[in-house]
Amino acid sequence: MAEPLLQIKNLEKVYPNGMRALKGVSFDVKPGEFLVVIGLSGSGKSTMLRCLNHLHDPTSGSIVFKNEDVTHLEGKKARDVRRRMAMIFQHFNLINRHTVLSNVLMGNLSRTNSLSSIMGMFSSEAKEKALGYLDLVGIREKAYVRADQLSGGQQQRVAIARALAQEPEILLADEPVASLDPATCHTVMDYLEKVNKELGITIICNLHFLSLVRRYATRVIALKEGNMVYDGDPKNIDEAWFEKIYGEGAREVHVN
């Protein structure tokens, strides 16, 4: 069995307002997995991803990344972990007034000193690579278009390219397709799968639709009110598990 890439033990997060969003979650992530996190709205999925890359500081527990304890980090070290665990978001979070290429180059910020990045001086090598990533997600021809001119699905692909520009080991995706229509949804998920299979980047992805989970996940964990209630193969989520995760009387919705 491969060495775990990420070991999460008893992870807890209490927000300043007293909300206990995570109540001791433990699991390992193996290299190359496509791990999907499911759970009701408010179950703590986003909180968990944000704790992993230190957008939020975990309250207690531990996160070990390649045998290195990265639970509590600040400054340069935290930024380095963020670079190695890229993240994409439900609302894409691109910089609207910049071009697509410029947005992708922003994936290099942690490795460029402040002054040259502000002057817009990225190496030509970085530009070549950025164009390459745009190629990979199929929108190289949009490189010089402003980001807000693109459709939602295209923006999410730019976000994936920006994440790839960070040359990450893990890609965190917080409901990457929740604001897209069903067809576009599959396009974006297909690119994530490609990133996972072709570049070997481990993916941890929050999703809402079980049909997508069954199609893309190699492993699933489920959260309920901040606790982990399922960890296993997506194929084994049957009716009984479904009710346990989503509550009595819940019905599955299909996206095709």
């Binding site: 890359n53 957008l55 930024r79 380095d80 972990v81 963020r82 670079r83 890229a86 993240m87 978001f89 609302h91 894409f92 979070n93 691109l94 910089i95 609207n96 007034r97 910049h98 922003m106 994936g107 910020l109 942690s110 402040s114 990045s117 502000i118 976000a159 920006r162 960070q166």
Partner: protein, 339 residues
């Protein structure tokens, strides 16, 4: 609901004091007795609170109540015409009493307005304003150019300073740590005080400091512009979207890079727009500041006005109108175009 109580108490105290003046007809000496009058005002407020709670106790909806009640209650209020409600009568009473008192205080007098002597004087000035003395035009033009430069320099120096300050007094940037919050509170207070002092007053202070002339006027305007712009800028920073900030932070970017790549693109346009607007305001203010020795056309105007040389004043007034109108129009077009 304390806001409503205070509002009503002050309103009633006000009526009480006016009633005292009407009943006792105090002379000047009595009006100047600040100590006793303050006591009376406090008594009035106390009585006001008494009435306010009393009205509330017997279920009357007072004006304060009507203004400050929470929105969900407002939505439930029955539609009664205002003149049939207690708060409507209260509002009307306050308004009428204030109008009557206002006429007294500002010494409104139809007699003065229609006095033939005074009227003739005003007519003479108006006529000479419309018959400008063109021989001073060249000097007037130079003076207005000076005014526009005063406004320009004040704006140009104020912008970078306000830009930096605006980040330091934006709550979403500084609110995170106790130290940051301290800096935020301190700067907010200093800027609010600076802003609440009119540029005219600043210019007077600076004429004492650096002497009468355009430099004093420029400094006064600049100080006021810094405070105003920093406030306006920081309000834009406070309503930037979090998404891009999160997105850039997640790439591992440093704090300066986050500000530059995620915050700045969201605020450049409003910044430019408000800066142009500020220059426009500054041109107008620079003419006024000249009146107290801040240089430019205002200084020239006050000299001729002092000697009652109305045709000359007319020329200068005309120049000011043209300059202000031109700046105003240009700024409006530019701001419209870059929106």
């Amino acid at each position: 609901m304390w806001k409503a109580r205070v509002f009503d108490a002050v309103g009633i105290a006000y009526l009480f004091l006016i009633a005292l003046v009407v009943v006792f007809q105090p002379d000047d000496m009595a009006m100047l007795n600040l100590g006793r009058n303050t006591l009376l005002a406090i008594l009035g407020v106390a009585i006001g609170f008494g009435f306010s709670f009393g009205f509330n106790g017997i279920g009357l909806k007072t004006l304060g109540e009507a203004i400050f009640e929470p929105p969900h209650k407002k939505a439930l209020a029955e539609p009664i015409p205002w003149y049939k409600t207690f708060w409507g009568i209260q509002l009307a009473t306050l308004f009428v009493v204030t109008c009557v008192a206002g006429v007294q205080v500002t010494q409104v007098s139809l007699y003065e307005l229609t006095d033939p002597d005074g009227f003739r004087g005003a007519k003479k000035i108006l006529m000479s304003l419309f018959n400008p003395e063109m021989s001073i035009l060249p000097r007037g033009v130079l003076a207005i150019v000076e005014t526009i430069f005063i406004a320009f320099m004040a704006t140009v120096i104020a912008v970078p300073i306000a830009f930096v300050l605006s980040f330091l007094c934006a709550k979403n940037i500084m609110g995170g740590t106790p130290f940051g919050f301290g800096v935020y509170m301190f700067l907010r207070t200093v800027l609010n005080v600076t802003r609440s002092i009119e540029p005219l007053i600043w210019a007077i202070i600076f004429t004492v400091w650096v002497g009468i002339g355009p430099f004093a006027g420029m400094l006064g305007l600049m100080l006021h512009s810094i405070a105003s712009l920093a406030k306006q800028y920081s309000e834009f920073i406070e309503c930037v979207e979090d998404g891009p900030i999160e997105g850039i932070t997640a790439t591992g970017a440093g704090p300066l890079q986050v500000v530059w790549f995620a915050v700045v693109p969201q605020i450049v346009l409003p910044y430019i727009s408000f800066t142009i607007y500020r220059w426009d305001i500054n041109v107008r203010m620079a003419t006024i500041i000249g009146l107290v020795g801040g240089g430019g056309i205002g200084t020239m105007l006050i000299q001729y006005q002092g000697q009652a040389m109305w045709p000359e004043v007319g020329t200068l007034a005309l120049l000011i109108v043209i300059a202000v109108w031109a700046m105003d129009t240009a700024s409006a077009y530019i701001r419209e175009a870059i929106k």
